[in-house]
Amino acid sequence: MRYLPKSDSERREMLASMGLDSIEDLFSHLPEELRLKRPLQIPPGKSEYEIIEYFRERAAENANGYSSFLGAGAYYHFRPVIIDSLISRGEFLTAYTPYQPEISQGTLASIFEFQTMICQLTGMDVANASMYDGSTALPEAVMMACRITGRDRAVVARSVHPEYREVHRTYARHQGLPVDEAPYEKQTGSVDLGRLAALVNEQTAAVVVQSPNFFGVVEPVQKAARIAHEKGALLIVMFTEAVSLGLLQPPADADIVAGELQSFAISPSYGGPYVGILAAKEKYIRQMPGRLVGQTVDKEGNRAFCLTLATREQHIRREKATSNICTNQALIALMATIFMSVYGKQGLRELAEQNLAKARYLAGALEARGSKPRFSGPFFNEFVVQCGERNPADINRRLLERKIIGGLEMGRFYPELSDCMLLCATETTKRVEIDRLAEHF
């Protein structure tokens, strides 16, 4: 096997130096009855060419050469080429978690930069080194709010990504954390503040909204903050489309911000690996889950970085840890850090403005053909469109014949919106593609 770097003569030499005759001697202590007595039923090892061929064939069975108008938590963006050039360096790709700071300063410095940029983007004071993804960052944020407030209820807007809410339910069920859902306003598509306020009380640890929400609509974060804080609850603001932060007011009234940074890091990749973020106000730092990189000095006074506040974490606190998270998404976070440095202060803004323009053009083109946006609330780069008497599934079928992947059929998650579709346009969506979609919608 070509990844095994020993020759048979080396193996013999090693065994001889150990006073052994064969490798099997090393296993003689394994109880006979527990050993596998047949070869694994896995075909013989393939050559590199056969492996590439296998995956090319699988790739050919997926969509190729289609336009796509899907968003809904995973977004298409131009990805600077230098991301892969840099993260493919073995010193980043094959490095371990930076527990030994003296030989991990590269990883540590870049995570420190990541943490800083997340704070700058979100208006928070501290950010951790990443979570698995946006969907798991949500329950972690809620559990953090519970620890901080000593309360156990969460009120989550129904306009938060449905799969994120499902994940939260899975976690919450076993922690004994009751969840209430606040509906959205039928007109605007943003959270119904009145109903939200009615659900928040002195047992509420966290109020959760997503902005832009699953419908693409910008939520009234400040008002939601007031509602939460009035009752001593924390406000958690989520996001799934990081590019929106280039243009939208950061949720500075939030206590915790959690979300998905996939847009800055990696192509949709059929759902993962992505990269979640968790950021919060300074005073909550000791309740944060996940790794934190801190700045310090070495014994000669040089600036150095290291993992810090590890006593929150599983390897020290064990069952009293703030989370069980160990491995996070460091390499994907590095991809995002490089993306953010390529675009920079001006570029993220321009990128967001292009997304806004494309989505508005798409909305306009569809409206001209009689398919209006379902909600009146301001949207960023995705929005829900009403399909009238036509079935979204039929529309999508027709579009597929023209190699266009249309929007997400909303009936999948919101039965009351089953005549609607969620469409997304980004800077990668060409005008001619939008025109074609509108023509055949």
């Binding site: 000791r286 006593t311 020290i316 009293k320």
Partner: protein, 129 residues
């Protein structure tokens, strides 16, 4: 080494009784075991402590240790200096780095605690010196 007028627990806390209040801290042995202390988590004023139950924790870079209350009572004062200077717990654990002051609710509990001599003997047995 260990003040005669303190009483001690096997979890390495001390208590100094002054009238109906007790001053609580951790011992020199405890701070040595922990190494450089980076953070102390203390209860708030008004918290009701129970003898033998956790009242907070003390952290070094690589470890966390629970602090167990030597006696039951209500917290009437918290040493806020420790938030700014947790290292004082390494420097003066029996003096300026006291943790909390409590109003004792059951003085009889104190009878079960170790004297300085008994505590010294206890830690010698534990460590072999």
């Amino acid at each position: 080494m260990y003040p005669e007028d303190f009483r001690y627990t096997k979890e390495h806390e001390w208590i100094k009784v002054e009238g109906d209040t007790g001053v609580v801290g951790i011992t020199d042995y405890a701070q040595k075991e922990l190494g450089d202390i980076v953070y102390v988590d203390l209860p708030n004023v008004g918290a009701k402590l129970v003898a033998g139950k956790t009242m907070g924790s003390v952290e070094s870079v690589k470890a966390v240790s629970d602090i167990y209350s030597p006696a039951s009572g209500e917290v009437i004062e918290v040493n806020n200096e420790l938030a700014e200077k947790p290292e004082s717990l390494n420097e003066d654990p029996h003096g300026s780095a006291w943790l909390v002051k409590i109003r004792l609710s059951d003085r009889a509990e104190l009878d079960g605690l170790l004297t300085a001599a008994a505590y010294q003997e206890y830690i010698s047995a534990e460590t072999g010196h």
